[in-house]
Symmetry: C2
Subunit: 316 residues, 2 copies
């Protein structure tokens, strides 16, 4: 039996199913991962055929269920492929199968990729979103919503500058919907809670590994579902993006993957990027408005790019 403290910040080589078998129950606060997507090509890393994806996944998720704390969360970033002109159903099949396995399907976040791959096809537009499925062991799980608040909309400034009489009292909805509000309470608010659509750009660029996962994605879930000092598992870790996010946010990680070369690369990244942002722990809500300083550049510069870039909407 592996002792818990020996597990902190390790990159373990092997199939997650086997590696996890020697790890005790109820250890992790969060599992966040982007598994190899289904692919009908043979002999590639992650080349699991769509028709066999669920049966491949279930033995592994069985172990995830065991090692996750009862209050923990499992975030699965996945998207189905188009096979023969249709969206394959292995992802929705997987949701059903995971429920049967004992997982609660709590939520589905949408990761909107702001810079999705270019391309043109006669019968479809660019696919610019992926699912981030949230599963839990229990209805009562840990969540730290204040850590990821976002700036309030621009409407607020004008709206809140001139309060009417009705704004100063609790004004109940006339139609009996149960809604009421007291706008006075909002004066001085600068941040609001986010919603379940995440707008992040993919990281294109210079990495050898085709980064499926922008750093900001695991970082957002780590902040939402863990506290500093908690332990995060990524069982399909690749080049270790989840590990980098953990170190920058003061969480401990356990990474697993089958390819030894990935471990080397990941540990180099983690060591380098951790040093560059030494001392940075949690991100406070007010920091969203702060101007990034020199020492914070690595982490915060990245973040603010994501947060501030303009969204292209669809005209109708």
């Amino acid at each position: 039996m592996v002792v818990e403290r020996n597990l902190q910040d390790q990159y373990l080589i092997g199939d997650a199913k086997d590696v996890l078998s020697s790890i005790p129950n109820n250890l992790f606060d969060l599992i966040v991962t982007s598994p190899p997507y289904a692919d009908s090509r043979k002999n590639t890393y992650g080349g699991i055929h769509p028709d066999h994806y669920v049966e491949w996944f279930l033995p592994r998720s069985q172990e995830f269920l065991r090692v996750l704390k009862p209050t923990g969360t499992f975030i699965l970033n996945i998207k189905e492929k188009v096979v023969d002109g249709q969206r394959h159903t292995y992802v929705i099949d997987l949701i059903k199968a995971l429920q049967t396995q004992g997982w609660l399907w709590t939520e589905e976040f949408i990761w909107h990729k702001k810079n999705s791959h270019p391309g043109k096809w006669p019968n479809r537009f660019r696919d610019s979103w992926e699912r981030c499925l949230q599963f839990n062991k229990s209805k009562h799980f840990a969540m730290y919503q204040e850590e990821v608040m976002v700036p309030i909309g621009t409407w607020a400034q004008s709206r809140l500058s001139h309060l009417s009489t009705k704004d100063r009292i609790r004004d109940n909805s006339k139609v009996g919907s149960g809604f009421g509000k007291r706008v006075l309470n909002w004066v001085g608010k600068t941040v609001v809670y986010p919603d379940n659509v995440l707008h992040l750009a993919t990281e294109c660029g210079n990495k050898n590994h085709s980064a499926a996962f922008p750093l900001a994605l695991p970082a957002w879930f780590i902040k939402t579902f863990t506290q500093p000092g908690d332990v995060v598992l990524d069982p399909f870790a690749g080049s270790g993006t989840t590990g980098v996010a953990c170190k920058q946010l003061g969480r401990n990680y356990v990474l697993i993957d089958t390819v030894p070369d990935y471990k080397t690369e990941a540990e180099k990244r983690i060591s380098h990027e951790t040093k560059a942002t030494k001392g940075i722990r949690g991100v406070h809500p007010q920091e969203h408005h702060a101007v990034p300083r020199k020492s914070l550049e690595k982490l915060r510069g990245h973040q603010s790019t994501l947060a501030s870039s303009e969204e292209k909407s669809v005209p109708v």
Copy 2:
């Protein structure tokens, strides 16, 4: 048997399943609808229990399949509810069932609702997106992508005015994905194809009707999948938003719903808003590229404002 030409621009009262039974095969170019969502409340319009939703839906979609042209498209706007802390699976069950019925699940568009329902809960954020599922009878369906192009991002102006050496040749992706680009080709481009995430606000507020469907949503699909003169069906038409969009865009409509009062309201809306041409509006006041011309362009000018709205992103 109803003759085709008598069907143009009608609001038919009754259950779609029954009304459609007297309509010939292969008539419609597009079916776009937002059916009553599952709801466990009793005695309300649309109060179908989640556990019985699929069996309720299938007899109706069987008729949709019959009356849709082989090259036509079926767009289904729907979203599952939370039941007992979990996302209910009736929507993904429905996808599977529709495939069994003979539909191809071609695409899933995400409608991001910029003004989602407010509220705060300890274990989830606000739900701000819905599915727009695309189904087809055949892999070869009609699509008019040029009709919904969006202005190119603001990056283009600065980037294209100073081309680097690499921009003038084909620069292949570093990650070996096979993607490459030749930025030189983009000079002079002002519009690009959209992607499969739609950013629209819901229409709430001081209207008599509670529009589940913002006008812009059916309008976008009507433009993407039909040409002027085509016939569009909305079998759960409610207050007739789809009909308004059709008239503004020069398409013919057949609307169906069970409540006679809706017909009255819909025909008033269609008559009024068609005359006024004021329906399809943008979301954000930042009217950027659009140079609105006078009369007929009232519609088009408003449409393009949607493209310019800024998106609030989630900082990480």
